[in-house]
């Protein structure tokens, strides 16, 4: 067998479900007195699956906890069958897992499971996102008064905002701390979860809709401070105080960096 054909045959074997090789692949290999062709192939077949399962168990501990070993393993197997790895790094194996759960599973709890998987993946993204250049309170306090109205910011690269309609945060926390795992339930009020990394630690908190609009306006739509005040004024708020309060909190939390471009 030519090199390329042999490699394709072994690739197909590793990706396939069957532990028994086809006759062409078998004939291309030699066993030894201590390790037969079948045993040797099985070591690689098993290692491929075990490695992928282990990575997703680490990246999605709460989904794993919820489903239990057997169901989680079956779900992960189906996922890799539909989405074989295309990135050189194991770090990106779970990139499409939440979407896959939504397409693959049926039943009343699918939506909650998808949300939990999205939340867990968001934490992995925050974990090794670029640091960015978070603006400090001191830096902003040091701005000349005439620079204030024009100040434009964006979110630091790790910051993400996730809409949650289930108690996914409670499930995530329980899996992380080993506390009793709560039943998945719908929240009385949907919430927005803001999560980000500051230095080496991941943080998260809820965001009410007024703050979310303001943060999105400044950090996504590029409002400057003057525009933020204008927008708030339309709601008849105690404008500059509230805007300054939020800005101070966001800066204190390391959420913002200066907008470039």
């Amino acid at each position: 067998m030519r090199l390329n054909d042999w490699q394709l045959a072994l690739e197909a074997y590793l990706l396939g479900e069957r532990v028994e090789p086809d006759s062409a692949l078998h004939a291309s290999l030699l066993g030894s007195p201590t390790l037969s062709v079948e045993q040797g192939l099985q070591i690689y077949h098993h290692a491929y699956r075990a490695r992928l399962q282990e990575v997703l168990r680490e990246d999605f501990p709460a989904v794993h906890y919820w489903l239990g070993d057997e169901q989680f393993e079956a779900l992960v197997s189906a996922y890799f069958k539909a989405n074989p790895s295309r990135h050189f790094s194991l770090r990106w194996l779970g990139e499409r897992f939440a979407d896959f759960i939504g397409q693959h599973l049926q039943g009343g709890q699918t939506e909650a499971l998808v949300e939990l998987a999205r939340l867990e993946w968001a934490f992995t993204l925050a974990f090794d996102a670029a640091q960015g250049e978070p603006l400090s309170l001191a830096q902003v306090a040091g701005l000349a008064p005439e620079e204030w109205p024009g100040l434009q910011v964006s979110l630091v690269p790790s910051a993400q905002c996730l809409p949650l309609t289930y108690n996914s945060l409670a499930l995530w926390q329980a899996a992380k701390t080993g506390a009793a795992f709560p039943t998945s339930t719908a929240l009385a009020q949907p919430m927005l979860c803001l999560l980000w990394r500051r230095d080496l630690l991941s943080h998260y908190r809820s965001l009410d809709s007024a703050e979310a609009d303001a943060l999105q306006g400044m950090a996504v739509h590029g409002w400057n401070f003057a525009r933020l005040c204008e927008q708030l004024a339309a709601h008849g708020e105690d404008v500059p105080l509230r805007a300054a309060g939020w800005l101070k909190q966001w800066l204190g939390e390391g959420l913002l960096q200066r907008r470039t471009g």
């Binding site: 067998m1 490699q7 990706l15 291309s28 030699l30 070591i43 990135h87 050189f88 090794d128």
Partner: protein, 281 residues
Amino acid sequence: MPTETSCLGYGLGLRSHYYEAILEQRPAVDWFEIVSENYLVDGGKALYYLDAIGEQYPLVMHGVSLSIGGPHALDRDYLQRLKQLAQRVQPAWISDHLCWSRGNAHQLHDLLPLPYSEESLQHVAARVRQVQDVLERPLVLENVSSYLRTASDEFSEWEFIARLSELSGCELLLDVNNVYVSARNHGFDPWQFISALPAQRIRQIHLAGHSDYGDYVIDTHDQPVCDPVWQLYQRTLELLGPVATMIERDDNYPPFDELLGELHKARELGQTTLQGRVQCA
């Protein structure tokens, strides 16, 4: 032969499990080897500790996904990222494995053995030259543990490695444990393997543990180095003189002091074996 200045001494694989202990204890480790892929990220803990530890210790880079023998085109993006990481780390050298880890379409995330044929040799040698052109330095390649042999082999693994090094100019990372594991699995003499390698090309040695299933052995890096591997290592040093040596531990992590104890054992063995000869750091 490695000279006093080219031999880094005795090192450990840098693993996140030991980041804090390394910075707190400043252990007597001469250098650390990083798994390159763990640091091909944009930020966070891994890069923070890489920089902090890299300020205090020499580093070398060891990759697992180059797939030098794969059927696919070389991943130029990966190579560029590796090169950028090298600019950050300033490694003494960059290594990966003599294997393939990616098929035509998919990443297989394993160190798969190659047929030791003339066709493989030409394929790999051409790709090694391409990689060396991008990285602008010799590539260091490690022998892998294997559980398969192909019927189309025209060379022994050691002949293949020696020829590859001659053809491509690559240097070698001799994993003594992998030689032992493959020798047990395929029934060859591990010393025949080691003694046939071009000594002047061996840049580094790996030591590690494995899981012994009686008839065969699996390379797991979750156990201490076993006695037969220590004996092979000693014989290797007698043959080669000083070579930068490190212990790989990737699972079932012992307390850090225990791992340092194992490294101390390597150092003592080196000092005893190399008495009167040029020593590593």
